[in-house]
Symmetry: C2
């Protein structure tokens, strides 16, 4: 399967935890998953893995450019599959739903701002915390 290719390409051995983790990202309707999320999903499916292993594999996949780490909340991180097109996030504080969006104008403006201050952008993070327009209180 294609998962195996990606794992090998990263110079990693093809093991159950790694395959399962990639599968979960590819199959889950949620794009954004935490270490716990993944740990639970694997467990529910009957396989045995350690939480520590999940953390280790997530880190490895991040360095390999397969996953990307996101820190929305105070405490914990979520990961998502890296896709070629950059996007930012909108988090609904009522439902927890995460929506991705992209806006070139904002991107350009950011570059300008950095340049004006004598810097170049290495990375950036834009998260909008939102509520539904139709006031459901």
């Amino acid at each position: 399967m294609s998962e195996d290719k990606n794992i090998r390409k990263a110079g990693l051995k093809v093991t159950l935890p790694r395959v399962r983790i990639l599968e979960i990202f590819e199959q889950s309707k949620e794009r954004h998953l935490s270490a716990e999320d993944i740990y639970n999903k694997i467990r529910e499916s009957g396989d045995e893995v350690g939480l520590a292993t999940v953390y280790r594999v997530l880190t490895q996949f991040e360095s390999a450019g397969i996953l990307m780490k996101q820190n929305f909340e105070d405490n914990f991180s979520v990961y998502e599959l890296v896709s070629d097109d950059h996007h930012d996030h909108m988090v609904c504080i009522d439902s927890g739903k995460v929506i991705e969006f992209k806006n070139d104008l904002i991107e350009e403006e950011q570059d300008k701002i950095a340049k004006e201050h004598g810097y170049k952008i290495v990375d950036h993070k834009l998260v909008l915390y939102v509520k539904p327009l139709d006031g459901e209180k």
Copy 2:
């Protein structure tokens, strides 16, 4: 002093830890301080406070609208004095320096994006991670 007023206004007793913490925010050249930063500064000045107290007071000041919490990094949080004018942050990944900026165009665009998706913005977070333009490696 003005610190006392702010503390009283928040319905809190005027105590040494609270006064010192506010003083530190008002006197420090850094606008953004972590619990540890503050703890150390108070200690260095000879006063005795517990780290737990610092955390408690920061939280109280946040609910009172005196301070605002910011989470730039994975692990820990920094606080800054609330000012009326909104701004975003630029963090230099070489020096750790934090620069504040404001851009109306970006703000407007954000509102538009949220609206297009049927949401209104409650809060947002924009952080640019940057490096100096003149490549000092």
